[in-house]
């Protein structure tokens, strides 16, 4: 199976984020990491390849810094990478990101495309499904298990409130992968070494420009959300905090 994994670099989970001067985006001087569900998507692609053979290709869009995500994927076992390298990709909406990806892979023939189920920055939860529609492929979302069958694949979709569903579908297909579908591997030293010789195809903005258009949605402003709740900070030494909390639990909340 030939699998493409769409990956994204996002700010680290506990990185302190600040707004830029125009309040249009965050200040970029933060630490980044791979979007967590994308890491599970990559892991799943490597496991499928180990079972069925084939190739794993990883793709991302973003400035030079985002190449780190591809390097890590190559070190874990991906065979090659595609980097749509330009800062302008950061500002694309899901519709245009999917269009740029579709344009970048138009000469490839994949059996499966994986994405994480959503990103930790925009959180659209749309790019994978849009890509499927642009390619004319079937899709399934929030996937917790993938098995190859005679006619295609059988996937396990996570539904809400603890429900699941198996779905049989033909290939090629796009799947959005849920965190926790598998256990992530670490890159090995030898993997890191080998990654240095694996190819990364760079795609400039100009190459896909004709495929993308104006964004269909616009972030007018970004801001720190107004608090709807009054939060009382409880401070002091751990022992003092414990005493204060117990007092609240007993006398204000009346749960003790």
């Amino acid at each position: 199976m030939k699998i493409l994994v769409c990956m994204k670099q996002v700010p680290q989970k506990d990185a302190p984020l600040k707004l830029n001067e125009a309040s249009s985006w965050i200040r970029e001087d933060v630490s980044y990491e791979v979007n967590e569900p994308d890491a599970f998507a990559l892991e799943e692609s490597l496991r499928q390849k180990e079972k069925h053979g084939g190739e794993v290709v990883v793709i991302t869009s973003g400035p030079a810094r985002s190449q780190q995500v591809l390097r890590e994927a190559l070190a874990k076992g991906a065979d090659r990478a595609i980097h749509l390298e330009d800062n302008a990709f950061v500002g694309l909406d899901a519709f245009n990101t999917a269009k740029a990806f579709a344009a970048a892979i138009k000469d490839e023939k994949f059996d499966l495309i994986f994405t994480g189920l959503q990103s930790d920055d925009y959180g659209y939860a749309q790019t994978g499904v849009i890509l499927a529609e642009l390619l004319g492929w079937p899709h399934a979302t929030i996937i917790m298990q993938i098995e190859k069958t005679d006619g295609g694949i059988k996937v396990k979709r996570e539904l809400e409130a603890g429900f699941f569903q198996f779905v049989d579908m033909p290939l090629p297909a796009v799947l959005t992968i849920q965190s926790g579908i598998n256990k992530l591997r670490y890159a090995t030293l030898i993997g890191i070494k080998q990654a240095k010789n694996k190819p990364i195809r760079k795609v400039a903005l100009a190459e896909v420009q004709s495929a993308i258009g104006e964004n269909l949605q616009k972030i007018e402003r970004l801001y720190v959300p107004q608090k709807t709740k009054k939060t009382e900070h409880i401070e002091g030494s751990p022992a003092e905090i414990a005493k204060k909390l117990v007092d609240k639990l007993r006398n204000e909340l009346r749960v003790l």
Binding site: I26, G123, V129, L134, V224, E235, P238, L253
Partner: protein, 333 residues
């Protein structure tokens, strides 16, 4: 003709999803702000069964979009049915709840129509005639006001809990119902879904718990779960967790709180080392009192906390457990 807002309510497995009332409440609020007409649609194999229930709300009209091909749910059939219906109706704005089912088909539907979805919104603003949708970014650390720059129809989905479903206004008289039969060719539907099932019997029903002590990534290691368990026991509460903890197998899946787990509203929710990702917050923000312990003062969980303790949970929890135990012993003597 005035512009129309169309709310697509959700039914699954023969039941109307209660979150649909929230989306109708959202539609009513936007209609009041804009002066646009509000209508609703039910989509499914036997959509008209649910139409009457929906038509009791203050709506200009309810459509039952029907085809036997809509049962069971597939994204292919739902997108095809709604594309036909919306192309004919041309509403200005289409609203849906941000459920797993909607997430599965709405990006496809909008793309097929060359349009965009502003997904997972928590509110809206109507400023100088411009409609803005508020959504969370960077896991709730920021909010963004987002506008549509494309032609109509516009698609927006609302996060669970953004509007009060019980505040959806009833109509003076039932709204008229129109059944719309859509044609879906067999070849359109590529996925073959099987029966929906639950993994295992849910051993704990966290929705009944009055006190919940919940742990997140900040607990660091499986062996530290015991410390949280002791606090839960001292308080007479249940132990729960955010998704990553259950994914790691440190606690069973049936103790997971959030969009993929249980939705709870206890008297007290004590969040230990939980950053407050949106998917977790939607499962517990209805709690009467929320106490959060986190070492990161900017963790989104503090946005919804009544009491905030910025600090290391490993320092805070043991003396707290001790104090609670003492207090309980004291109240018994």
């Amino acid at each position: 003709m005035p512009d129309t807002i169309l709310v697509v309510v959700e039914q699954r497995e023969g039941k109307l999803n209660r979150v649909s009332w929230e989306t109708i409440a959202a539609g009513q609020a936007i209609a009041a702000a804009t002066g646009w007409t509000l209508e609703a649609a039910v989509v499914g194999g036997s959509a008209s069964t649910f139409a009457a229930e929906v038509a009791a709300k203050k709506l200009a009209k309810v459509y039952a979009v029907e085809s036997p091909k809509l049962e069971p749910y597939t994204p292919d059939a739902f997108a095809a049915a709604l594309k036909q219906f919306l192309t004919a109706k041309q509403p200005r704005l289409v609203l849906m709840p941000h459920t797993y089912q909607v997430r599965d088909f709405v990006p496809k539907l909008a793309t097929a129509m060359g349009r965009a979805v502003i997904s997972d919104c928590i509110g809206f603003k109507h400023e100088n005639g411009k409609l803005l949708f508020t959504r969370q970014m960077f896991q709730g650390k920021f909010a963004a006001d987002v506008s549509f720059t494309s032609a109509a129809p516009w698609f927006a989905t609302f996060q669970n809990g953004s509007f009060r479903g019980d505040k959806a206004e009833a109509g003076a008289s039932p709204a008229p119902i129109e059944t719309v039969n859509v044609e879906i060719a067999d070849i359109v539907i590529r996925n073959k879904p099987q029966e929906v099932f639950k993994e295992a019997k849910q051993a704990v029903d966290l929705t009944q718990a009055e006190i919940i002590v919940s742990v997140g990534r900040g607990i660091k290691e499986q062996k530290n779960i015991e410390m949280a368990k002791q606090l839960a026991d001292a308080l007479g509460g249940e132990l729960a967790a955010s998704r990553p903890i259950c994914d790691s197998g440190w606690l069973p899946m049936d103790r997971q709180i959030g969009s993929s787990g249980q939705t709870v509203a206890p008297k007290l929710y004590l969040a230990l080392g939980i950053s407050g990702a949106i998917q977790h917050i939607v499962g517990m923000k209805g709690s009467r009192t929320i106490i959060a312990v986190n070492k990161d003062s900017e963790a989104p969980i503090f946005e919804i906390a009544d009491f905030a303790i910025v600090g290391n949970l490993f320092d805070i929890v043991p003396p707290l457990t001790e104090e609670v135990t003492k207090a309980k012993a004291g109240s018994q003597t």
